[in-house]
Amino acid sequence: MNSEKRFIGTFEKGSSLWGDAWVRLSKNKLALAGLGLVIFFCGVSFLTPWIAPYGYEEQNLVLGASPPSSQHLMGTDIFGRDLLTRIMYGGRISLFVGFIATAVALVIGISWGAIAGYLGGRVDAFMMRVVDILYALPFMIFIILLMVVFGRNILLLFFAIGAVEWLTMARIVRGQVMSLRKQEFVESAYAMGLPRHIIIIRHIVPNALGPIIVYATLTIPNVMLLEAFLSFLGLGIQPPQSSWGLLINYGVETMEEYPWLLIFPGLALSLTLFALNFLGDGLRDALDPRTSID
């Protein structure tokens, strides 16, 4: 490209939804801090195998549970395993399950809800009855059945959790879409002859993003705890691996004897959740197309 011949446009460039969103988000300090923290946690998790101070399964039975010290910054668990290392490895699992399962729930929930809400009528009735039926199934039995069919595989566990978490999402999205589809901008898009899927994707879903994002930030902690619960039943991850949920679960049992086993994993989990909540809040405001840029 020849810079000298660069053509300088004379017409104003329309601002995109995402561009706007970024500008608005960058003004929200709390949301930015949240984003930074989430990125930090993800980065640490990703790099854990290279930067962890010890092996996550390395035991030192003679040492046992020891409080934080210069050698073990967060202390050790009853097997003498370094807690910091285990939190780092646990974060890999917890963040992974949090994001993957939520993403699965988002994709299924949004498409299901948006289609049902937009098409309405019989299709809507049928699709919502399916959701009702799945709701009525005892949730644990459903997820256990999925695990039995899929087998004991971590990745499949994530999908299985996502596959049961999308129901509420679908309902929220459907409700939003139903109120949106009668609005003028949708009708004008329809009048211009845009195909249905474009209308749904370009015009309806972005307008429904607020509640979706809020709900997604609530889903992430949910699935993290759910993973701990399933793992405890023997359906999820197995020792010596661990996740934040499991670490907290074990920590609760010994909180009087070895409080650090509860405090540090609890801190990691709550910091992440705070960060996600601030980020979600910021994103909701930033992505709302109804608020114009300044």
């Binding site: 399964e57 390395e58 035991q59 039975l61 003679v62 046992g64 009853i78 097997f79 004991r152 705890l225 701990a228 619960f229 405890f232 039943l233 023997g234 197995q238 020792p239 010596p240 949920g245 907290i248 679960n249 074990y250 609760v252 049992e253 010994t254 009087e256 004897e257 070895y258």
Partner: protein, 550 residues
């Protein structure tokens, strides 16, 4: 009997939170008076019983929790002194043993009654024992009867007439039992629930005599002959037994009722104890032992317990068929560290199946902790430095302490043999099912003595033993345990034979002994007369409650 959930600390995040809230809620608003305080006034003992019983039918049950309840509801010919475990008169007021120790003649107490008022006599025992030996009933403890003449042949279908089995009611109050061989521990067997009498009319009222799972043991139906009778059974909540006024020694029974709580989660149980909701806990969570040993109130009781914690190796699995591999696995468990640093409950490292000093028997010891030799054995078996060792799984029933042991052993094998072992946990009944159907590779197990004799720990590994479950079968072992040992005239002679048998067992290693149990309970200060014994079998007829003393 098979140990169900001994050191239970399992916690499920959601449900444990719920239980905690529930407990707090109950404590907060039930009444200012705790269960313990009100129980002390009414003579009601609140007993943490581990898990929901599989059944209250004495011919079907196999576990420790069942034992606690059944021993309150029923009584056999003989009881055990709760301190010395010596036989003392039960339903039989006296007995005579023939010179050759082969014929036992029991004299029953006169005017014995079932809890519904029916008369109980020697014929009830004959009928009960006939029922216990019906193959269709699937009684896992049928082999307890094998010392009785012809019982084994009858059970195996080689005899069809029960008349030929050595049990006769000479008259209403006299029961004569003939044995196959002199069996020095025979009187002890009679205090085991598999030999308790059951009420014929009630059982036949609710189904066929040899039908499993009929409603005869349910609330309102069950008729029994013990110091207590069943009052209420709410599944997974509580089982209440109350005083049986028709029990012959009712005047000396001091408790009015016992409430059994099936609390599988040790942490929850400990919290309930602390909130004075329980008089007695089934177990103590590992991490609480230290806390309680430092407390002034001496509620923690740790006693020797005649039981062995071990791992079963499924010898039908290809790579575990190799004796050298099994030995290598057994040699690389550092039992000293495990008991001292992980379990912390004064357990004793076990290097043989039978606990040391079982009635004076000391097992032969050929195991030790020797990773060097284990690595050699692995190399000889074609897995140098663990290379090519197939993926292996340890199965355990969902429980915090079992998980801790498994995690420690997993790491020991990884460190010393460089093999990767994964862990699977299953709920108690699913786990039992996997184990019995042979659908496992390595599984954790525990065996608690039913009576004090090495025979109890060794006869379960005979080829056909219902509690063997490893697929291991050795004809020489069977011959020693089933044929030679019962013929031994003195204990020394029998023990020599048992040592030979156990040497075979510990050479073949279908099981890896890990530690000898201790019983760990929290007992409220108001509980009196609860004698410790190595079978950890309480005598509910003696226990009484007393108001706060401190």
């Amino acid at each position: 009997m098979s140990e169900t959930i001994s050191p239970a600390t399992g916690s499920i995040i959601l449900s444990s939170f719920r239980t905690i809230t529930l407990v707090l809620f109950l404590t907060a608003c039930e009444s200012p008076e705790t269960r313990v305080a009100s129980g002390n006034k009414t003579g009601t003992l609140h007993w943490g019983n581990g898990t929901e019983p599989q059944s209250l039918d004495p011919h079907i049950a196999t576990g420790v929790p069942e034992h606690h309840i059944i021993s309150a509801l029923m009584e056999g010919l003989v009881r055990k002194d709760s301190n010395t475990l010596e036989p003392v008169p039960g339903v039989a007021e006296s007995w005579a043993i023939s010179e050759d120790s082969l014929v036992y003649t029991f004299r029953l107490r006169p005017d014995l009654k079932w809890s519904n008022g029916d008369a109980l006599d020697a014929h009830d025992f004959v009928w009960s024992w006939w029922r216990a030996l019906q193959p269709a009933l699937g009684n896992l403890y049928a082999y307890m009867y094998f010392p009785i003449a012809n019982a084994r042949r009858y059970y195996e279908g080689k005899l069809t007439e029960f008349d030929e089995v050595g049990v006769k009611a000479l008259d209403k109050l006299t029961l004569q039992v003939s044995l196959e061989n002199p069996t020095p521990y025979f009187l002890q067997l009679l205090d085991h629930y598999s030999m308790f009498p059951v009420h014929q009319a009630t059982i036949e009222n609710f189904g066929k005599a040899d039908q499993r799972g009929t409603r005869w043991t349910h609330e309102g139906n069950m008729v029994s002959n013990g110091p207590f009778k069943l009052k209420k059974w709410s599944i997974n909540r509580e089982i209440i037994v109350e005083r049986n006024a028709l029990y012959y020694d009712n005047a000396n029974v001091r408790l009015n009722a016992i409430v059994y709580y099936p609390i599988e989660n040790g942490t929850t149980e400990e919290r309930m104890f602390r909130a004075e909701q329980l008089h007695y806990t089934n177990d103590v969570p590992i991490d609480k032992i230290e806390t309680y040993s430092n407390k002034k109130a001496h509620s923690l009781r740790i006693n020797p317990y005649l039981g062995t914690y071990y791992y079963r190796l499924n010898t039908r699995v290809e790579h575990l068929q190799n004796k050298k591999v099994r030995r290598a696995l057994a040699l690389t468990i550092d039992r000293e560290r495990l008991t001292k640093h992980v379990l912390k409950g004064r357990q004793i490292p076990a290097y043989a199946m039978t606990p040391p000093d079982t009635k004076g028997y000391f097992p032969p010891v050929s195991l030790e902790f020797d990773p060097e030799k284990a690595r050699e054995l692995m190399a000889l078996s074609g897995y140098p430095n663990g290379k090519g060792f197939p993926p292996t799984e340890i199965l355990y029933n969902t429980n915090e302490a079992h998980r801790k042991v498994a995690v420690a052993i997993q790491q020991m094998w990884k460190k010393h043999l460089n093999i990767d072992v994964s862990l699977i946990n299953q709920e108690w009944k699913v786990y039992l099912d996997s184990e019995t159907s042979g659908d496992y590779q390595i599984s954790r197990a525990g065996w608690i003595g039913d009576y004090v004799d090495p025979n109890n720990f060794l006869d379960m590994f005979i080829c056909e033993g219902g509690n063997n479950r490893t697929g291991w079968c050795n004809t020489e072992y069977d011959r020693l345990v089933l044929e030679e040992a019962p013929r031994g005239e003195t204990d020394e002679e029998r023990f020599d034979i048992f040592r030979k048998a156990e040497t075979i067992l510990m050479d073949e290693l279908p099981i890896i002994p890990i530690y000898t149990y201790t019983s760990k309970n929290l007992v409220h200060a108001s509980v009196k007369n609860l004698d410790p014994n190595i079978l950890n079998q309480p005598s509910y007829t003696q226990i009484y409650l007393e108001g706060e003393t401190d």
